[in-house]
């Protein structure tokens, strides 16, 4: 072997051993986004970052969600990560918009511990069909060929409802490890159609506690059980709710109305009176008149500031939709923010801004710059809550401690006000006109659904069973 070859060999060995620590470090930090690496674009997705033997660090996701016509729009997600000896896990939900470029890194000070990117070819807005089964081949046959069928693991299922916004179905056959019941409940409340395939082995029957009936609503979703032979049919029969349009329907003209200021005629009237007063003082007041006019203009300047400056520089309006069935509800909230002076808006929440180009999100704070006299619409991360309006048999019950007003049942008409703790025996009303507040929602909700309101909160108790129009007749 010549000296040149020796040199090459030594260089190769050095390169391999030199890169080992970097490779090992990258391997000790694992980022999982979506389910089994599948991201549903334009939806909230679960995020899990696992670190082993790493120092305190920061996770940065940078997503360019712009387009050719409008240019770059940057969304940054920043999360502090507490390092420790052994394994540390960070979990959250992140709204992933349709991206042009998507990269991530974990950094500790100036040192980048790990980094990566997601290709635009991975972008897919189709919902997921999650399967927890050891017989994935059979389970796939229950869905269309175009469906995005994903094999999930029990441990991958979070207990947060927002994680499941991009999930359509959760299918469990008991052959794989049992998921946590809380995770199944979270998925169902989020609007997922959960199907348990029967028969279950005795050690898996805990799942059946969630499905006492062959099919029932829970939150915004369904939970059903059926033999494998009927699975495809049951999945087709269970009606889905389009949740995104329901939330966006909260954006009524009242929510986007800009604040009104002092009317023009008052401004002109005051200015005219002021002109006349100053003229009189100058013309007839001589020296003292000048001093009086000077004082008047200074006093009026202060008064003008107090009178014309709006008391609130930022106007926040919120409206929430509590979509419930059973004891639990999926709460979606929409906020409109009207800001008069320009500045950086910081809000202690997690949300998806509809009309903001560049924004930052952390696990606790959303921040973005707003120009003067501008408006932003935020759709908050959906959360799980207790259902306050609830069906109990054919009775409608108010489970909250305050009145629910404008109770309306689709197909039956207005039902009046429901006091706290009270139940309501339904009656058919001739005045079947849907109140204006409920109109954008009513088209997307099934007949037999009850709606009520308290301030800006709209409580919906979904029709408990398959309800036909015949049910609504007096």
């Amino acid at each position: 072997m010549t000296a040149k070859r020796w040199c090459k060999l030594i260089l190769a060995v050095l390169l391999i051993f030199g890169s080992l620590p970097v490779w090992a470090q990258q391997r000790d930090i694992k980022l999982e986004l979506g389910f089994a690496g599948e991201i549903v674009a334009d939806n909230w997705n679960p995020l899990r970052l696992t670190m082993r033997d790493q120092p305190d660090a920061e996770l940065v996701l940078e997503i360019d969600h712009g387009n050719l016509r409008e240019g770059s729009k940057i969304f940054r997600y920043l999360a502090p990560l507490s390092g420790q000896r052994g394994i540390s896990v960070f979990e959250d939900d992140v709204f992933i918009p349709v991206w042009r470029s998507f990269s991530w890194l974990v950094q500790s000070g100036e040192v980048i511990l790990a980094s990566g990117s997601f290709d635009r070819r991975q972008l897919d807005p189709r919902p997921l069909e999650l399967i927890l089964s050891n017989d994935i081949g059979t389970a796939r046959t229950f869905f269309d060929k175009e469906a995005r069928v994903i094999e999930a693991k029990a441990d991958d299922l979070p207990e947060r409802v927002a994680s499941y916004q991009g999930v359509n179905t959760l299918l469990l056959d008991g052959s794989a490890a049992n998921p946590r019941l809380a995770a199944v409940v979270a998925a169902t409340v989020a609007g997922v159609k959960t199907l348990i395939l029967e028969p279950l082995t005795p050690e898996r029957t805990a799942l059946l506690r969630l499905a006492p009936e062959p099919r029932q609503r829970l939150g915004a979703g369904w939970i059903a059980r059926a033999p494998a032979a009927n699975a495809a049919e049951v999945l087709t029969d269970l009606p889905s709710l389009e949740l995104k349009p329901l939330t966006e329907a909260l954006l009524s003209p009242e929510m986007t109305r800009e604040p009104t200021g002092i009317p023009q005629f008052i401004v002109l009237l005051l200015a005219g009176l002021y002109l006349v007063l100053i003229l009189l003082m100058i013309r007839f007041g001589r020296g003292p008149g000048i001093l009086a006019a000077l004082s008047l203009s200074l006093v009026l300047s202060l008064a003008a500031w107090g009178y014309f400056r709006p008391q609130q520089e930022t106007l926040l309006r919120a409206r929430s939709l509590h979509l419930g069935s059973g004891d639990l509800a999926l709460t979606s909230e929409l906020q409109t923010l009207f800001r008069l002076p320009e500045g950086l808006e910081r809000l202690n929440l997690q949300a998806r801004p509809l009309d903001v180009d560049n924004y930052r999100q952390s696990p606790t704070e959303l921040s973005f710059a707003m120009p003067r006299w501008s408006q932003a619409t935020l759709i908050l991360r959906p959360v799980l809550s207790n259902a306050q309006l609830q069906w109990q048999g054919e009775m409608l019950v108010n489970n909250s401690s305050q009145n629910l007003s404008d109770v309306f049942v689709l197909g039956l008409g207005p039902q009046g006000t429901l006091p706290p703790g009270a139940s309501l025996l339904l009656r058919f009303s001739d005045d079947g006109l849907v109140p204006a507040l409920y109109q954008p929602l009513s088209a997307a909700l099934p007949v037999g659904t009850a709606l009520a309101r308290r301030g800006g909160q709209i409580h919906v108790a979904l029709a408990p069973e398959f309800t036909s129009l015949a049910w609504s007749q007096p």
Binding site: P259, G261, P263, Q264, L268, G272, Y274, R286, F308
Partner: protein, 207 residues
């Protein structure tokens, strides 16, 4: 302000030319408010931007013209004219404050409050210098033509420089520290020229 100067300013303000000017000036500002204040379906209040520009254009033109006209008057008279003009600016302050309060512009209020008097005094001083120069050259009859031309020149210089340095009309709605410094220097020079009593001018009245 001593009593003589106060009386002189009062008399100056009561003269018909100043009264008419004051009325026209305030009427102009009210007209601008009438046009730009939100009405009907319009909600965004941008009235301050138009109002402050109208105010500064009018005051700079008036100060420049009166400066040129007062160039050969006594120091006392020049000071009384300048004070009368400053009062004119001050009397229009409530209108600007009202529109500023409702408009929420990006520019700080302090900038808005400082830039107008600085420009007024500076351009009064430029007017005084121009008036003396024209008198020296014996071409004062050209002043009605030269006053707008000088202002146009100021705008053209900025256009040539590619940045706002002298142009008072653009400097009101954006913060330009260099413009304020230049105007403050010019304003200080103007005030010094009015206050500083040279020996040969001792016969002029007390200030």
């Amino acid at each position: 302000m001593n009593s003589n100067l106060l009386i002189a300013v009062s008399e100056r303000l009561r003269r018909s030319d100043m009264i008419q000017l004051f009325m026209a000036f305030i009427a102009l500002l009210i007209l601008v408010l009438a046009v730009t204040w939100p009405a009907g379906s319009q909600r965004v209040n941008d009235s301050w931007y138009s109002l402050v520009q109208a105010r500064v254009i009018a005051l700079v033109l008036i100060a420049f013209s009166y400066g040129e006209m007062s160039a050969l008057r006594s120091r006392f008279e020049r000071a009384s004219v300048l004070l009368a003009l400053l009062l004119l600016a001050l009397f229009s302050l409530p209108l600007e404050i009202a529109s500023y309060a409702a408009s929420f512009p990006e520019v700080p209020l302090l900038w808005s409050l400082s830039i107008v008097p600085a420009n007024l005094i500076a351009f009064f001083g430029v007017g005084l210098t121009l008036g003396r120069l024209l008198a020296f050259l014996r071409i004062r009859f050209l002043s009605p033509l030269l006053i707008p031309l000088v202002l146009l020149g100021v705008v053209m210089i900025d256009s040539w420089l590619g940045r706002t340095v002298f142009n008072p009309f653009l400097a009101t709605t954006t913060v330009v520290p260099l413009h304020l410094i230049i105007m403050l220097v010019l304003a200080a020079g103007t005030i010094l020229s009015l206050v500083w009593r040279r020996n040969k001018n001792k016969e002029e009245g007390p200030l």
